[in-house]
């Protein structure tokens, strides 16, 4: 199906199997992994797959470095939060907020792009860093509008909340609004992901790759390079904003820490690099691994620390509090052993 849809299959059996497992696990997450924490992780994976893929559209395909991706993510999230706060709970508020966030993100990307991509791509990186920092400061200072550092807590339609319960069970699991909410997140994420996969494999996507490979020649064969770069920036911002809206619908809370922070920006960067730049599949894989590590590395380490209790230094090193250290080690190892990302490595293996 994927082959028909985009013509860009995983091109490696191992990779295909991993992706099928991820896809099936996400599709049936509420039934396979009961429990609030597992569902939170699954939803987070869906949303970050979209977010990382949208960043890869810019970094991996077009070769543009941006530090403002969380800003666009945040615009989508704050759009939903503000609309739900001021218009009251309801699907209209979700729709209006999503569209407003999307429009704001695309418009801001257009302005930043037109302003800075004409000069040089590196200038764009600096401008995005400045604008993103300014927006983060604004979001935390304009408490009257954004709730400041505390953020906004709001209500979403009852049908998507945990209080709503259907009188039926499927496979032994009571269907709650939270599960419906998960499937909203899952379905929209899937559509957005496939749409991006399609875009990078379109004639437009090929031009983006050409610009990444050699912008000088792309210009010399008649492509309007600036226009393509700006369009890619706007698309990427739009997809990030939609991911942000989903995030806001899922969390029912939006604050600077969960959407705008520089830590999230770094996470996205790591997801794309670990998975493999320039492949949308890589973004999916990177996001899944990263979110899983963030959610479960501590548990895993607690187990390991327990098992090695007898060995003094080792058990200390494996203390769950040191999980960030180990995440860092994992990152360094993955970049060292897979410089082209996991997808790049697996494809190279398959091609041999």
């Amino acid at each position: 199906m994927i082959r028909l849809f985009s013509g860009d299959g995983p091109r490696s059996t191992i990779l295909a199997l991993i992706l099928i497992v991820i896809g099936l696990a996400l599709a049936f997450a509420p039934f396979l992994f009961p429990g609030v924490r597992a569902l939170e992780t699954a939803a987070r994976i869906c949303i970050f797959v979209v977010l990382a893929a949208s960043y890869d559209l810019l970094l991996g395909y077009t070769g543009i470095v941006s530090f403002a991706h969380t800003m666009f993510f945040g615009l989508g999230a704050y759009g939903v939060a503000l609309a739900s706060t001021h218009m009251g709970r309801g699907f209209t508020a979700l729709g209006v907020g999503t569209l407003a966030g999307l429009a704001a993100a695309v418009a801001l990307a257009l302005v930043i792009g037109l302003f800075s991509l004409r000069v040089r791509a590196i200038f764009f990186a600096m401008i995005t860093l400045a604008v993103a920092s300014a927006v983060t400061v604004l979001a935390s200072q304009l408490s009257a509008v954004t709730g400041g550092e505390d953020g906004l807590v709001y209500q979403i339609p009852r049908a998507l909340g945990p209080a709503m319960r259907l009188d039926r069970e499927i496979a032994g699991v009571t269907i709650t609004g939270k599960i419906l909410n998960y499937y909203v997140v899952f379905a929209i994420s899937l559509v957005l992901f496939l749409l991006m996969l399609r875009i990078v494999n379109s004639p437009f996507g090929r031009v983006l790759q050409a610009i990444r490979e050699n912008d000088f020649r792309a210009e010399a064969i008649g492509y309007r390079v600036v226009r393509y770069r700006v369009t890619a920036t706007c698309l990427s911002a739009g997809f990030a904003a939609l991911a942000g809206s989903l995030w806001a619908i899922w969390l029912r809370y939006v604050g600077p820490g969960t959407t705008l922070s520089f830590e999230i920006m770094l996470d996205i960067l790591l997801m794309v690099v670990i998975g493999g730049m320039g492949t949308i599949w890589g973004a999916a894989l990177g996001a899944t691994l990263m979110v899983l590590a963030q959610s479960y590395l501590q548990n895993l380490m607690a187990l390991a620390a327990g098992a090695t209790e007898a060995l003094p230094i080792l058990s200390r090193l494996l203390d769950p509090d040191r999980w960030l250290l180990w995440l860092g080690v994992l990152f360094i190892l993955s970049v060292y052993f897979f410089p082209t990302g996991i997808v790049g490595r697996l494809r190279a293996r398959a091609a041999r």
Partner: protein, 254 residues
């Protein structure tokens, strides 16, 4: 007398105090292949850069089919019909040979901005790219990434990209540089084939005298950035200025 397809008028560029191209006024007619010769550093490639827009002129004008294009950028000039192949190979290294050609055909047909079609689905574009591959005898390498091609094949593809662009003005900058003896004829045949298109003009920077003799209708000589001679091949090659500025030195080197 046919009208000039491409004209430069007092075209000049200065880098600091150094005048790299010095008030070159020259016209190029449709149906003509003009060889541009001169010693290294004479300003041949810089003259090309000024015409195709990679560097901005300090003074003078460039006209394409009567239209002043001096202030237009590279991609605008290209869309008006000014095509250029480069002296140093300048391709899309991570993409396949076929994809490199398809990108050019797609650019010419203005089909780059479709986001939801599939890249391979445009049959006309693919067919045209494949035909060109066949003429270059590169079919077997269609799916190879360009970065893995031999130098000779990269040079061939460099020329092919320009031919795929189908411009009004073809600008070749030492197309056979570094090619082996059995590879060069394929490229030269392609260029010779272009001469049948009498509504186009071809500019060729070249060092090899046998190539110039067999292809050129006219030779212009650049020396220290200025136009030193201009005329039919036999006359220019015989002239004193060329003997001194170019031929003589080359012969001594040999």
């Amino acid at each position: 007398m046919t009208a000039m397809l491409l004209e430069t008028e007092d075209l000049t560029v200065r880098f600091g105090g150094h005048v790299a191209v010095d008030a070159v006024s020259c016209g190029f007619r449709a149906g003509e292949l003009t060889a541009i010769v001169g010693p290294n550093g004479a300003g041949k490639t810089t003259y090309f850069n000024l015409i195709s827009g990679q560097i901005a002129a300090s003074a003078g004008r460039v006209r394409l089919a009567g239209r002043d294009i001096t202030l237009l950028n590279v991609s605008e000039r290209c869309r008006l019909g000014l095509g250029r192949a480069f002296q140093l190979t300048n391709l899309f290294p991570g993409l396949s040979v076929l994809e490199n050609l398809r990108l050019v055909v797609q650019a010419r047909r203005g089909r780059g901005f479709s986001l939801l079609r599939l890249a391979g689905s445009d049959r006309e574009v693919t067919r045209e790219a494949e035909e060109l591959l066949a003429r270059l005898r590169l079919e077997a390498l269609a799916e190879q990434p360009v970065s893995e091609l031999s130098h000779g094949n990269q040079r061939k593809l460099e020329v092919a990209l320009l031919i795929a662009l189908d411009p009004l003005v073809y600008m070749f900058d030492e197309p056979t540089a570094g090619m082996s003896l059995d590879e060069a004829p394929v490229v030269l045949d392609l260029i010779a084939g272009l001469k049948a298109r009498t509504d186009r003009t071809i500019l060729l920077v070249e060092h090899k005298m046998d190539v110039i003799r067999s292809l050129a209708d006219r030779i212009i000589v650049l020396h220290n950035g200025a136009l030193a001679a201009d005329g039919p091949p036999e006359a220019v090659m015989a002239s004193a200025v060329v003997q001194e500025a170019y031929m003589g030195r080359e012969l001594e080197d040999v």
